[in-house]
């Protein structure tokens, strides 16, 4: 599916640019995109290296196990496929906590670490497993206590109360997350037969 979407985006863009005479803009867009990706990756490298370092300490100190034990029912509810006591529990919970407390740059490394643990449970490593997609749904809906980037921009544009959107944003992202989890479950049910057949 990703092949068709990616290919479609590029092919359709070419056709569109041909008709609207934006070929020059299109060719510079290619390099802009690549350059942007490298910049983003460099920023990610800084966050990932730092947070994976801290995470390793937290793990050795038994913090992740404690977190998993305290909030295990939540993981069991959202990720029934993960065996009880698996290290993925701790990483998933730390990813959710980082999102919640607005540590956006920590959430990504922790989420990646959780994905790696889920990959160990995945019997077909090139194919997304059900818990992986649930984790993805949680992260795209992103419940956050403080949308700090938006608040920063509001302050920069002279808002009288930059933080006034916090409560509505929490409610909206919470509602969005519930719906996302619900949809995820619907898809899970639909794809169960398909998974058994190996498709």
């Amino acid at each position: 599916m990703i092949h068709r979407i990616w290919g479609g985006m590029i092919a359709l863009s070419f056709i569109f640019a041909a008709f609207t005479g934006r070929m020059e803009a299109l060719s510079s867009a290619v390099f802009d995109g690549a350059e942007q990706a490298v910049q983003v990756a460099l920023m990610l490298l800084a966050f990932i290296a730092f947070w994976l370092g801290i995470l390793r300490i937290a793990e050795a100190a038994g913090l992740l196990r404690a977190l998993a034990r305290a909030l295990s029912p939540l993981v069991r509810l959202l990720f029934p496929d993960i065996p009880k006591g698996h290290p993925a529990e701790g990483y998933i919970l730390s990813n959710m906590s980082a999102n919640f407390f607005g540590l956006g740059n920590a959430a990504t490394p922790l989420g990646i670490k959780a994905m790696k643990e889920l990959q160990k449970l995945n019997d077909r490593p090139e194919r997304a497993s059900r818990p992986m997609i649930t984790l993805l749904a949680l992260n795209t809906a992103s419940i956050t206590l403080v949308p700090s980037t938006v608040i920063g921009y509001r302050a920069a544009y002279g808002s009288a109360d930059p933080a006034e959107i916090i409560v509505p944003a929490i409610i909206a992202s919470f509602a969005g997350t519930i719906v996302a989890l619900f949809i995820d479950r619907l898809f899970q049910r639909r794809s169960r037969d398909d998974a058994d057949r190996g498709g």
Partner: protein, 180 residues
């Protein structure tokens, strides 16, 4: 409460780091070695992600530069109008799952034109703040572990965005009322 919450978020980041490091010290863990070990893993992980990011961001830039995105925004305008979504935030809604930078630029242009405390400015803020960039998350999370077959992941992600944006629209009405 909001002032307290923003204050809290300043404390969380240094607090977490100091807390983890102190606990490690108390438990007599070789914390510096542990940190370096973990940080090393960051390099290979970033290298795994980079090709996916390059592929995705190039496609996203091309869709925007070719006028394809503008056309999609145009043809979907009547549909959004039917749902009483103001035309100014339509580009934000459509760009949000593709590119955080692009949807943020739409939000900032609304701030510049109407002010962040206007009805539209608040709506844009809540929409931007209540969802994340699905395509980026897919590329990064699945790229890091080499997942090639996304199955229904993209649909769940896009539905999650649609749900978050719809919720943002409704909650905004409840808090700030209809347009003046």
């Amino acid at each position: 409460m909001p002032a307290f919450v923003t204050e809290l978020s300043d404390w969380v980041f240094p607090g977490v780091i100091a807390g983890v490091v102190t606990l490690g010290l108390l438990r007599r863990i070789p914390i510096y070695e542990a940190f370096i070990d973990g940080a090393k893993e960051g390099f290979t992980t970033t290298l795994d992600i980079l090709p996916h990011l390059i592929g995705m961001l190039i496609a996203v830039q091309m869709v925007q530069a070719s006028g394809l995105m503008a056309w999609l925004i145009d043809i979907s305008a009547p549909f959004f109008q039917m749902l009483a979504v103001p035309a100014d935030v339509v580009p934000l809604a459509l760009l949000r799952p593709l590119s955080g930078a692009a949807s943020s630029a739409v939000m900032l242009s609304i701030f510049a034109a109407h002010g962040p405390d206007s009805w539209l400015g608040r709506l844009a803020s809540i929409m931007q703040g209540s969802t994340d960039t699905t395509l980026y998350i897919l590329a990064v999370y699945f790229g890091a572990v080499g997942i090639r077959r996304y199955r229904y992941a993209l649909w769940v992600g896009l539905f999650a965005d649609a749900a978050g944006l719809t919720a943002a629209f409704i909650v905004h009405r409840l808090f700030f009322g209809p347009p003046a």
